[in-house]
């Protein structure tokens, strides 16, 4: 199978869907001739023109608001927020409008809207360009939350998100854009709400999304002689395929959840809640979360690195958990 980059997989997904459905349009900053800051929209402006690739002023509330109004009246917008950190300037439109209006109208209006954004530390851009905010959206009823880790998932999940009739927040990772992976030709989808076992194992379940899947797989590889690690990527946090996670924990008896966001109040805690509720008797040791330190992300490289789980931290933590009891 051919190998393409995550960024190109996203580009293909959007292009294919735009060809399929004339009601899809793109809205966001610098998405015209530049093709978006990271190139996800490369050449789409040339192909589809400014009608369907709508470059905006720096007005995030209006970007999401325009998408909301357009979605309510029959279009299928894909709105880009350049960095997830900037979504803070549009939260009302995301949370009170996009997520709620279909419900509040008693189903009178629909909201087929995708908000594409990217997040994560690791690029020395400091605290206002490095947050991982998925937990906020997981806690917001009415939104679906998607976090692809591979080019294959990126393409298949983005197509599913675009076809979904609910608002979806589609969160990419800056450090994944240029990673390659195999992506078959032709028409296929990855459904929302289906976790994938990225690597089978028997001693411990490691749950990770986005960039952390790669760190988890690296750690699993390093540990492979001593510990058999199962790596599960939920791929979508809402809807969540908790069954696959539970099944894995029932097999391994141990679970570690990884994320870059601060541990406190992060999605790891939500996994712990569900796992302890549903598989308490299968647990050989307490479920653990390895995530970010409880601090804004610092600029300086060694400090930044210290703030988010590194492969060696994961290796260490897995060993610690497996040794317990």
């Amino acid at each position: 199978m051919r190998e393409i980059r995550y960024v190109d997989a996203l580009n293909k997904a959007i292009r294919e869907e735009m060809i399929r459905d004339g009601n899809i349009f793109l809205i966001g900053e610098d998405i015209g001739p530049l093709g978006g800051t990271f190139g996800v929209y490369k050449d789409l402006f040339r192909e589809f023109g400014e009608k369907r690739v709508r470059q905006t002023p720096i007005s995030e509330s209006a970007i999401i608001g325009t998408a909301v109004g357009a979605a309510m009246t029959g279009l299928r917008p894909i709105a880009e927020i350049m960095y997830i950190d900037f979504i803070t300037t549009a939260m009302d439109q995301v949370i009170n409008q996009a997520a709620k209006l279909s419900f509040m109208s008693g189903g009178n209006v629909q909201m087929p809207l995708v908000i594409r954004t990217q997040q994560g530390p690791g690029t020395r851009e400091a605290a206002q360009h490095s947050q991982n905010l998925e937990a906020w959206f997981v806690h917001t009823p009415g939104l679906k939350v998607v976090m692809p880790s591979s080019p294959y998932d990126a393409k298949g999940l983005l197509k599913s998100s675009i076809r979904d009739n609910s608002p979806v927040i589609f969160i990419e990772h800056r450090l994944l854009y240029f990673k390659k992976g195999s992506v078959p030709e032709g028409e296929w989808l990855v459904p929302l709400g289906e976790a994938e076992v990225k690597k089978e194992g028997n001693d411990i379940t490691v749950v990770a999304t986005s960039l952390m899947v790669h760190q988890a797989l690296e750690a699993a590889e390093i540990l492979s002689k001593e510990i058999s690690v199962e790596v599960i990527d939920p791929r979508t946090l809402v809807p969540l395929d908790i069954e696959k996670v539970i099944a894995s924990v029932k097999k391994t008896g141990r679970i570690l959840i990884l994320h870059e966001a601060p541990v406190r109040g992060g999605i790891g805690a939500e996994f712990v809640r569900q796992v302890t509720e549903k598989a308490f008797d299968y647990l050989d040791s307490p479920p653990r979360v390895l995530g970010g330190l409880n601090t804004p992300i610092p600029f300086s490289p060694p400090l930044e690195n210290a703030c988010v789980p590194q492969v060696e931290d994961i290796v260490g933590m897995v060993k610690e958990i497996v040794k317990e009891k």
Binding site: G69, N96, F103, S105
Partner: protein
């Protein structure tokens, strides 16, 4: 008057409908018969009827209206069914939003009603989106976006007017300046004497008009609608007006009594009525007939709402769990 007789009479009737609806709603609210009356998310439109009616009289059924927290008048003027509005206010399953939304959230896509909003200023970007849709699909639909003086100081006002102008979107912004946001006077919140004149900052036409003159409102909006239907972009119209009731029914009245009385004397309904009588478009008898029709409609709506079932908790829980 270059508006036809039927439309004029329709306008008067709609003004009565709004007035009497709001009076009925207030009565029911005070009798403890509204779902929302613990803290009173009930915002009366009395005093401002000329704006919703004047503006919506220029619109077609499939044109869009984006409303506010004070939205009963907009819904009625756009052709909303008062039975379903009242049912919504009582949290009934037969309400426009199946009891999920309540007074501030009346939706009816069939008549282009894109909802009120509980967040001041949130409607403006949504209106841009609706207008963008029509432009994209090359329909000739127009979006009318209502908002208050209070909303004019939200950032969304700026972002939305700027984009609407840049993209020449088919939208008419109508600022209902009733001189107060809750208890805060507009003079303390808007750095210029008018909102309408801010239009120049976006390179679009701006008007400041008497919002209690329904004919002036309709003529001004008519012109703006024509302009924008033919691709010439948005207009900002500020309608000066006044609400008779406190912000909502749990907020203490802080405005001077004399000011309230002064404005009550400018009641837009008798003013329009006198004009129609003078011009022999309607006579007293017809007016009385009209009023009693509206009252009958109101009684029927009250009965309908009262007899309608509350939403089923079981069904609701199933719906939620299915998600």
């Amino acid at each position: 008057m270059d508006i036809n007789r039927e439309r004029l009479i329709g306008m008067l009737k709609t003004m009565y409908k709004i007035r009497l609806f709001e009076e009925r709603a207030k009565k029911l609210y005070k009798a403890g018969m509204m779902a929302g009356n613990f803290l009173g998310a009930l915002h009366s439109y009395i005093g401002q009827e000329a704006i919703a009616v004047g503006a919506c009289s220029c619109l077609k059924k499939d044109d869009y209206v984006v409303s506010t927290h004070r939205g009963h008048g907009h819904a009625i003027a756009k052709g909303g069914d008062i039975k379903r509005i009242l049912a919504e206010l009582q949290g009934k399953e037969t309400g426009y939003s199946r009891g999920r939304g309540g007074s501030m959230h009346l939706f009816d896509l069939k008549i282009g009603l894109l909802g009120g909003n509980g967040i001041v200023g949130a409607g403006l970007p949504i209106a841009i989106g609706a207008a963008f849709s029509s432009q994209y699909k090359k329909t000739s639909q127009v979006t009318v976006c209502f908002f208050g003086d209070g909303a004019a100081t939200q950032g969304t006002f700026h972002e939305s007017l700027n984009i609407a102008s840049l993209w020449k979107l088919p939208v008419v912004f109508i600022c209902e300046n009733n001189l107060y946001a809750v208890t805060t006077p507009a003079s303390e919140t808007i750095a210029t004497p008018n909102v309408g004149e801010r239009a120049s900052a976006y390179g679009i036409p701006g008007k400041v008009i008497d919002g209690n003159d329904v004919l002036l409102v309709s003529a001004t909006v008519e012109e703006a609608v024509k302009r924008t239907r033919t691709g010439k972009g948005p207009t900002l119209i500020e309608c000066r007006t006044y609400r008779w009731d406190p912000h909502c029914f749990v907020i203490t009245e802080t405005r001077p009594k004399e000011e309230i009385e002064e404005w009550k004397a400018k009641d837009p309904i008798p003013r329009f009525e006198r004009k129609l009588v003078e011009e022999k478009i309607i006579n007293q008898e017809e007016i009385e007939r009209m009023k009693s029709e509206v009252i009958k409609e109101m009684d029927a709506a009250e009965k309908f709402a009262q007899e309608s079932p509350l939403p089923s908790v079981e069904t609701f829980k199933e719906e939620v769990c299915a998600k």
